[in-house]
Subunit: 308 residues, 4 copies
């Protein structure tokens, strides 16, 4: 999930994936100003290195004139790829000439996810369950919380749990410093706010820009702010929803990745909405994290391109 331009990964030539599979596969994502010949340049360059395209998707935004692409390609049988070398060559041969922002990922390398949570547990339970049965394609080196509610759950999953409270003894500055250290120490690719109920500082938002997903418990842009299910109940809506979005310093205005809704009725109390909503949140967040981990989410201004 790292971007070659900012945080070059250590070579992944020694992954188990490469040795156990006949092919090493990579995923290339890019965006650049739209023009003729992009697809041909990219596919030609891949062919020249004997990569065989398994899947590709592209989108040109007519409003912004920006072009987006995701390619999934197999390398030649048995050969292990030097990803950093490949990134340099692609920059030299194609990316640089076309003004591309691009990333090249080893498909077999799982992104490293830090989960953050407060006291409401449906999302973290669900993500950890999926992780435990292998259907969430990430590794989870640590869980951070401002409460101790889920320390036992973390232990049951064998994942280090960091209790970082904000209270009389601990300032928010101190807490976020610990978080940043953990991000660096574990080489975190993605932070997931799985019902984390503290507002993050603009600094932390900036450091993890494009790499932090929040689940908001309403169908944005409806019912921003606090207690959205109560707002929804007040307004008498007939569907409630949840939204997974990238975190920006502008609260609840981040790039939307995924949304879903469920039908409700006049007889649903606010607590019924909370209950129904928690199921929507759970699946919306899991879907967004999975897409991110598979490098399907590209940023396009205040929006996302999702190649699902």
């Amino acid at each position: 999930m790292s971007d070659v331009k900012h945080s070059p990964l250590p070579s992944t030539t020694a992954t188990g994936k490469a040795s156990s599979s006949p092919h090493q596969s990579l995923i290339l994502t890019l965006s650049c100003p739209d023009r003729s010949g992009i697809v041909h340049s990219v596919t030609g360059w891949l062919a020249s290195r004997s990569f065989d395209i398994r899947d590709s998707a592209q989108y040109g935004d007519p409003d912004t004139g920006r072009f987006f692409m995701r390619v999934h390609a197999n390398g030649p049988k048995g050969r292990v790829v030097d990803l950093n070398g490949l990134r340099g060559e692609f920059e030299r041969d194609v990316g640089g000439k076309m003004g591309m922002e691009f990333e090249i990922h080893d498909e077999g390398r799982k992104g490293k996810v830090m989960l953050m949570v407060s006291k409401i547990g449906h999302c973290i339970h669900d993500l950890l369950y999926r992780h435990s049965v292998g259907t969430l394609p990430v590794s989870i080196p640590c869980i951070v919380s401002n409460h101790t509610t889920f320390a036992t759950l973390a232990a049951q999953h064998g994942i280090p749990f960091h209790h970082l409270p904000i209270d009389g003894q601990h300032t928010k500055e101190w807490q976020e410093e610990q978080i940043l250290q953990l991000i660096e120490e574990h080489d975190i690719d993605l932070v997931v706010l799985a019902r984390y109920m503290q507002i993050l500082s603009p600094k932390l938002c900036e450091v993890m820009r494009g790499k932090m997903i929040n689940i908001h418990h309403s169908f944005l842009p409806s019912f921003k702010g606090a207690k959205p299910y109560h707002q929804a109940h007040q307004r008498g809506v007939k569907l409630i929803g949840a939204t997974a979005h990238l975190v920006t310093s502008d609260l609840d205005e981040g790039n939307i990745i995924q949304q879903d809704v469920e039908r409700v009725s006049h007889s649903d109390s606010p607590s019924d909405l909370v209950k129904k909503g928690s199921e929507i949140e759970t699946r919306v967040l899991a879907r967004a994290v999975t897409w991110f981990a598979e490098h399907r989410v590209l940023v396009n201004g205040n929006k996302t391109v999702v190649f699902d």
Copy 2:
């Protein structure tokens, strides 16, 4: 669809329904302050007149302390009911004592609907088609438009079309006066704004309060106001929706009756959203009109109770 308190209907004892069916059926809807014994009083009163309950639904709102009920009951075989008499007796025996607002309808009498439309046709086409094949349980004595776009369509369906423009020669006051005359002349139970693009005066809203449905082309309360699909495109949402609501003088704040959504993607242009959205609008409006016609929609403050 008329309320007995404000606009007593002419006796419906001569409907074809009553003669062709072994039973005459009625639908009773009511709301009142919640207290013990309401259901028993109502069912007892119906039993005392030999009405047999086929279907009933109720809801007590814990926030407002108000109770809502809808009962569908068969009269005795072969007997034709004097509805006005029945209303008076129910008021005397039950409704008056419990502070009820109630309506009693002959199930076999179709509500009279005035359609209003401007230049966008998917909703009116759909409603007229459903009407023509008998799946929209209403009669449509007239269509009103500020344009002539659908005059031919109305003629094909044999429905009088009234072109009531607002232009250099015709003021809005004049136009709404014509509308009110048509409503009175045809004893209209419900006005449906099937993509009618003029804002109605507070006076007209007040006269038809609780009896006028609009289709808004967004998932309210998101994207109020003009060009909601363009707003949705700007925000990058992943679902778009439509909302059918009762019209109040506070634009886009009326009581929501029905909502639905469809999935969209980054590659959908505003015009794609308009196209997808028109299918949602069509089915949401048809559903809302059907529920209204079946006396399933009760007003609860700024919300609705829908006994579907």
Copy 3:
């Protein structure tokens, strides 16, 4: 969840519910031959004992001439009800005369559910999670499995786990005898087959008739039998589904309680379908168990009436 006619419950007058709440609430469900006056008789009888109806629903099946009803009613403030006494009086006053099969439940008493599972865990994980946070309104006195896969999970939830294998040393007869003993010992109201991969004997099906729910991993009646997702992949369907149904001795032909589907595409492999399907199964089963626990599921021949 017990039927008064077959298995009278011990008096529940001492439940915490009754003392902590101002009202004791009960749920009455019944079915009988359709005729005039049923609703009035039932509501009148409840009123005569000072029960106030909060919610009721009914359905008359025109094909079978059978009538179904579910009533949720509050008892008088502060009074604790003798449910067994009440059942006898209702039988004497109403049920007997109208040929009713009926049940009267204390709303505050949680049904006792035995979970059965083999080696696939998404359903049991989900049910236990919902149980642990209080959103599945049942108690779970024991878990039974023919494998040991989920012994640790059961222990984490503090629920006794019974490993009842069928192997060289243990016959199916022996195993089902243990199951029947557990059902009796724990006064089980409902057995949930949460991906239990053994066919049960007709005897066990008969004993738990109407009280055993299975989750089938297809949209029945499509793809009965083994490996339904592979069958679905072969056929090239564009939606896959799951079905929760009551277990009868006729495999996959039991009364359907709930179904749901998800969209799939040509690019989904059988294992993708298994993954997507497991999410459908999870929510369909949880919904069916919840409805059953709330006494919303009534048997109507080979079908169900669900008052949701």
Copy 4:
């Protein structure tokens, strides 16, 4: 919609599209045995002719070893393309060498659709409405029916209506001969059975293989054959559906293109299911026809690949 191998189209160089738009766009679809280098060969060939790829999608079926691709590309500004020439060159340069079945279409040319219908009208009404407002991207040169029910509707839309009954005076052989003549005369690309209630002969199925879409009123493979909604009612399912599929001589076994479902309840009668189902059929068929017209549906054995 024609396949270059069987029915070369007349040159489309004179379409209005080419002259009114700065680019002429084409859509290339292909399938062939999977191997390395397909994407690169195709994109390279397009680039060599100055076609710029706007959109492409591909899929390799691991079960059958077959590869599928759809490319949407813009030609150079102002140039009008000789499609037949282009097909020959592609066959010579790429298609022949890789064993491809391929088609090259002018995006601006609307496919020619023959509608067939009997006496049930929701699908034909919907398709004609979409056609009339320009949201169904096809032309409709003729409507065929074994009844006269929709003669007036056809006339209102200005489309020739051919009444081809099968009765005492007219054999099925005669009727199908007329159909085949109309297909040839109008150069029909697609036949749509919009609730046409006659079984077609194997001969007609064969002639229009891959070019004839039927709407079946069930969620196939459930409830094949007659009266599927009645079958669904009997079984007590909780969702009903509809299926659009390519017609093969093996009834109800054709390649599925699109399916959808709606929730139903115990209280829905068979006629309620028919009513709800007709809305599903309508949108499923419209979607399938649109996808076909946009060359998004490729045949893969008894399945379809749909690049939506």
